[in-house]
Amino acid sequence: MAVPRFWREIPSRYNLIGSRCGNCNKVMFPPRHICPHCRRIGKLEPYKLKPRGKVVSYAITHVAANGFEDQVPYVLAIVELEDGPRLTTQITDCDPAEVKIGDEVEIVFRRMGEEGEDGVLYYGYKGKLVKP
């Protein structure tokens, strides 16, 4: 990932800043420029999502994405946030056998990757089971 792109996405990666439409009140994540429901009459504003949700689906990853090789097997889950939007995220700090559909998840701040030994470090959100 290029440094400028990462930098532009810091609000959503660090603080779950999405969008809320002032017309239909729907909350969206990641943030959007146009409300898919209201189109031209939509009024999108930045909205900070609550860092809580539930596991609606998950998969145990044995073949890792680049940079995640040393964390296999790890859990990738679809988490439905209390504010409505769903996001795909790793469930960290757990034995994959601990994760169940419906589990409560809090969103935590973790290191997501790095650009080699002398490159930039990327930080962002991951899920963590509330009561493991």
Binding site: N15, D93, V108, F109, R110, R111, L121, Y123
Partner: protein
């Protein structure tokens, strides 16, 4: 002084390794080490954790307890000896992640294990002078001990964050005074670009830890005209379980005053986090009016002592974030090979 603590928060990683597991690898006698150091197990950061992520989680807990708008925080100082970058501040990552940017000042501090309490003093000065409304000081570390070094049994990870402001309705504890004692003492160091620290063995005790902690504590008690009997809790930097108990005895504090804030037996030495998490553990239990003595220690060497009195607001704010006990009890044990992989001692 008219400043106090408006909010506090801690973070301790979930993973633990037992003394037995490390001793098995190096052929040490685990019972001798457990008795010698008074340590049973230590916290280990996960592969996606570092000083910045630990500092952010502690800072978010502090903001929750303070119940303030993070935009009103005018300064953030992160003290650590394991900042993720050599050049690029941890404090800016924290500031962004708690939504305190951009109208504030921020910097990283370094003074072995006492960089966090040095940050508290800076915030006290800036608040007292009217430069800022609130200041945040964080002590956080992912400490490194070379494989086979005695430090490996204690070098742990964790952090504490404190928000300092003027005394008022929001203050959970008043800081009555602070006193520091500093000399040039090479008891423990890490040269630039080297992964593991070196230490002076037995030299780390008497002329280093004990001399500075005792001198700072005596200085503060003398200045405030207080005696050990005036305190409900006493928290000392805890490189192991034994030093703080010895220093407490020498000062005239009882085990009952020290034990609530003594966390090394269960989490190890969290370096810059150590005395700050200890203070948080005391605040987790303190009743309004209780007085707490905190004395940090940083190799190199220096100690900062504080006298802190809990106020009424503490009762209502305590449950707004996870307590030290909650972090200590939520744990998962790992073996030495997993530990070595997490620490990147094993690389494929």
């Amino acid at each position: 002084m008219d400043v106090g603590i408006v909010g506090y928060g801690v973070y301790i990683p979930r993973y633990r390794i037992r003394v037995e597991e490390i001793a098995k690898v190096w052929g040490d006698d685990p019972e001798r080490i457990k008795h010698g150091l008074l340590v049973e197990e230590k916290s280990v950061p996960g592969p996606d954790e570092d000083t910045a992520t630990i500092a952010v989680e502690a800072a978010r807990n502090a903001v929750k307890r303070a119940g303030i708008n993070p935009q009103e925080i005018g300064a953030i100082y992160v003290g650590s000896e394991s900042h993720p970058y050599a050049v690029k501040p941890t404090a800016t990552i924290v500031a962004e992640a708690i939504d305190a940017t951009p109208h504030l000042t921020a910097a990283d501090y370094e003074f072995a294990c006492k960089a966090g309490t040095a940050g508290i003093q800076t915030c006290m000065g800036a608040v007292e002078a009217g430069m800022i409304k609130y200041g945040m000081a964080i002590g956080a570390d992912t400490a490194q001990g070379a494989p086979g070094d005695p430090l490996e049994y204690t070098a742990a990870a964790g952090g504490g964050a404190f928000i300092i402001g003027k005394n008022g309705g929001k203050t959970i504890a008043t800081i009555e005074g602070t006193y520091s004692y500093t000399t040039d003492t090479p008891d423990f160091w890490r040269r630039d670009m080297r992964p593991y620290p070196k230490h002076g063995g037995r030299f780390t005790g008497k002329p280093a830890y004990f001399k500075h902690v005792l001198s700072a504590a005596h200085g503060l008690l003398r200045e405030l005209e207080l005696t050990p009997q005036d305190f409900a809790y006493a928290v000392f930097h805890q490189p192991n379980g034994k030093f703080p108990l010895q220093v407490a005895e020498e000062l005239g504090f009882s085990n009952e005053q020290v034990m609530p804030g003594l966390l090394t037996p269960k989490v190890g030495n969290t370096y810059s986090g150590s005395s700050m998490i200890g203070l948080a553990a005391a605040l987790d239990q303190a009743k309004p009016g209780d007085r707490i003595l905190v004395v940090s220690y940083g190799s190199g060497a220096g100690s900062d002592a504080f006298s802190i009195v809990a106020r009424d607001a503490i009762e209502a704010k305590r449950d707004a974030a996870k307590t030290v006990a909650e972090y200590i009890n939520n744990k998962a044990y790992i073996d030495y090979s997993t530990y070595a992989k997490f620490k990147r001692m094993l690389v494929r």
